[in-house]
Symmetry: C2
Subunit: 397 residues, 2 copies
């Protein structure tokens, strides 16, 4: 049985008030980076195991990654010798660009993709097929998908979040380097500015459509909601996943220039909230619950039945909720001079069915005209490692 | 005569201590964003004027851009009605994603490329050829150039720097939108983490090779060095450029994985400084002047004659210095799983000859094996606008 399985829910907490000096524990019942207050910057990376690697290679990689992550999240270099403490006649262990920088709230979260358990040919690559969570399947196709294989899938994923982008990039770079000969980077994505909050102290940020996003997110201090909607339990399926979760990533390109030409009233109708305050169109302030029965002066629904806020609302989705911690992304611009930008959606849930149901509910979303899903991935997020152990140990015991 | 020409050198100063609330004046003798303490984030954009635009279109665009920039740099929306204050039946003036965010030290710096004065066919597009600074020519080819036309050149440039990436991106997005029908975005680049400092208060940051960079940069309080090396004077060439400067941008891809396999002693030999402290290999601390005559125990030069620090040192370049304010960039990864990352080099100088001489001196740089110049541009940076006027007004009077 892996580390932390069945342990009581514990929320990762900063050793100090948020800021450059924040350092979150790496070891614990859950991996950090899920309920951790959303940091300012993201570097997300997907990896594929290389051909002819063995189960031992996979285990050793996870051990090496966990060791390095346990150091970097505390503001330390990747090894004791680091960037300059080794032999001058050898390449340094640490690439060095984070020397002098504190932990900056760095969290490093690891996940296992469906292809780690069974590749496209149905091969049980590492003898893990019997331990595969039943729900860990490639996501179904959704209406409007326009997925690029270069930003989709992967055997393993790492989510690095920090309040300094150099710290997040340093983490992914050094973990990629540690993987040399065992796993290679398949794709990666930088993000910034967060589009969700997971702590009541955090202001609701705005997405690139200019609207507040994440108002109704599950917060880190809502233990009951986390147990119901986010953390896998031993009774769910695979006992080794207890205390873990399932991560869905979606790279959602936003048709910024088109959106910017939509009149304000229509932008608000599509969203179901007003743009300034973020209040539901049924009235009140940002925190007010939407009243889907409310009507306007003309007798029409105040909140359109196909608005984004209504389609994903728990009341119309059997009470389903997810924990979102996505980021804005801007990858420069395309050949037409349009910003190549959008939302890198990241959501944690107890079962992928939660995301699948919500995404299907969005098939009639008024907002669909202005977004394209161009990347996708799903990973089982194992529970946290116990001190001195490694992430995912429970899968191998 | 344009705004600010011939005025005394004045350093842009923050209205408050650095932080989210910092706001730098937009109007002044010089444009902000040159000597301003380097902010944490960059969004740089290059624009081309559209076909069949007139001189009036160009002037109006610069007026509209200056008005919007004068507001956004003070933490205001792009217009008085902004994101939600206009008619609900019209698209909002402001895209809205920076609502609730302070100025975050935003500076917006505008420049004119050689092609604004004369296109590739030799056409004097706007009747400005006689006002062209003689030195504003496309950069010559350098040894090892591997320039992508999609990240090279442009009629106009805008450098937006801020301590919050959302604020910098919001600025470029809204200025692109204002340009609709007159100029279109040609290419853009995000950067973070700064690789230079322009203020003695700032720590010397590290580049993606893990070394401190910018130790010997010109600082904002060194008025004599700024006058000698950075600010154009009325007597230089075109009087309208007095108080302005010349910007060279180079997108320098760094072969990260190759570098990371180089032994520490060789990394230090190539750089000419040690990796931990940043001291010259002739000894001392970071701030110690390099002693190029010093020898090691074996009698060899302590600082290699082809090290980066020696080749660009003013002592070997006729005293030439430049003001650098570059940023690290990470654009995800390439198809081989290698990080697509490097340095977005930005340097301000009184004449482009300063950069050209230094870059030629680097033709035998030991570091050349590990970098590729993949993008490039040069722009004349007009002086600052006087209150109520616009950037570049002097070019048109």
């Amino acid at each position: 049985m892996g580390a932390g399985a069945g342990a009581a829910v514990a929320t990762a907490t900063a050793q100090s008030a948020q800021g450059a000096a924040s350092a979150y524990p790496f070891f614990g019942a859950h991996q950090a980076g899920i309920t951790t207050p959303v940091q300012d910057h993201l570097h997300f990376a997907s990896f594929d195991m290389m051909a002819r690697t063995t189960l031992d290679d996979l285990v050793e990689l996870l051990q090496d990654w966990s060791y390095a992550a346990s150091r970097m999240t505390q503001g330390l270099e990747v090894s004791a010798t680091g960037a300059v403490g080794g032999s001058p006649e050898a390449p340094p262990d640490d690439t060095g660009e984070a020397q002098g920088l504190a932990a900056n709230g760095l969290t490093i979260t690891f996940g296992f993709g469906p292809t780690l358990f069974e590749d496209a040919d149905g091969t049980d690559r590492y003898g893990l097929a019997a331990r595969r969570p039943t729900a860990l399947q490639p996501l179904p196709a959704f209406l409007g998908d326009d997925l690029d294989p270069n930003t989709t899938g992967g055997d393993l994923c790492i989510q690095a979040c920090a309040d300094d982008p150099q710290v997040a990039v340093h983490a992914i770079r050094n973990l990629s380097r540690i993987a040399f000969g065992r796993a290679r980077l398949r794709w990666s994505q930088l993000g910034y500015g967060k589009t969700s909050r997971t702590s009541a102290d955090q202001q609701t940020p705005r997405n690139l459509f200019g609207f507040k996003d994440g108002t109704a997110n599950i917060l880190a201090d809502d233990a009951a909601a986390l147990d119901e909607h986010v953390w896998a339990a031993a009774s769910d399926d695979q006992a080794w996943m207890a205390g873990g979760s399932f991560l869905v990533a979606r790279k959602i390109a936003m048709l910024i220039e088109t959106w910017d030409r939509v009149r304000l009233a229509e932008q608000e109708r599509i969203t179901g909230r007003d743009k300034g305050e973020g209040a539901p169109l049924s009235g009140g302030v940002e925190a007010t619950d939407p009243d889907f029965a409310a009507t306007d002066a003309a007798g029409a629904a105040a909140i359109d039945a196909h608005s984004h806020v209504r389609l994903v609302h728990p009341d119309f989705n059997g009470g389903v909720r997810i924990l979102r911690r996505g980021y804005n992304y801007v990858d420069g611009n395309n050949a037409l001079g349009r910003l190549d930008a959008g939302l890198f959606f990241l959501a944690y849930q107890r079962s992928p069915e939660q995301f699948i149901g919500l995404q299907r509910a969005l098939s009639t979303d008024l907002m669909a005209e202005y977004v394209r899903h161009v990347g996708s991935g799903i990973w089982a997020i194992p529970p946290g490692a116990s001190t001195g152990s490694y992430v995912g140990a429970g899968l191998f015991t």
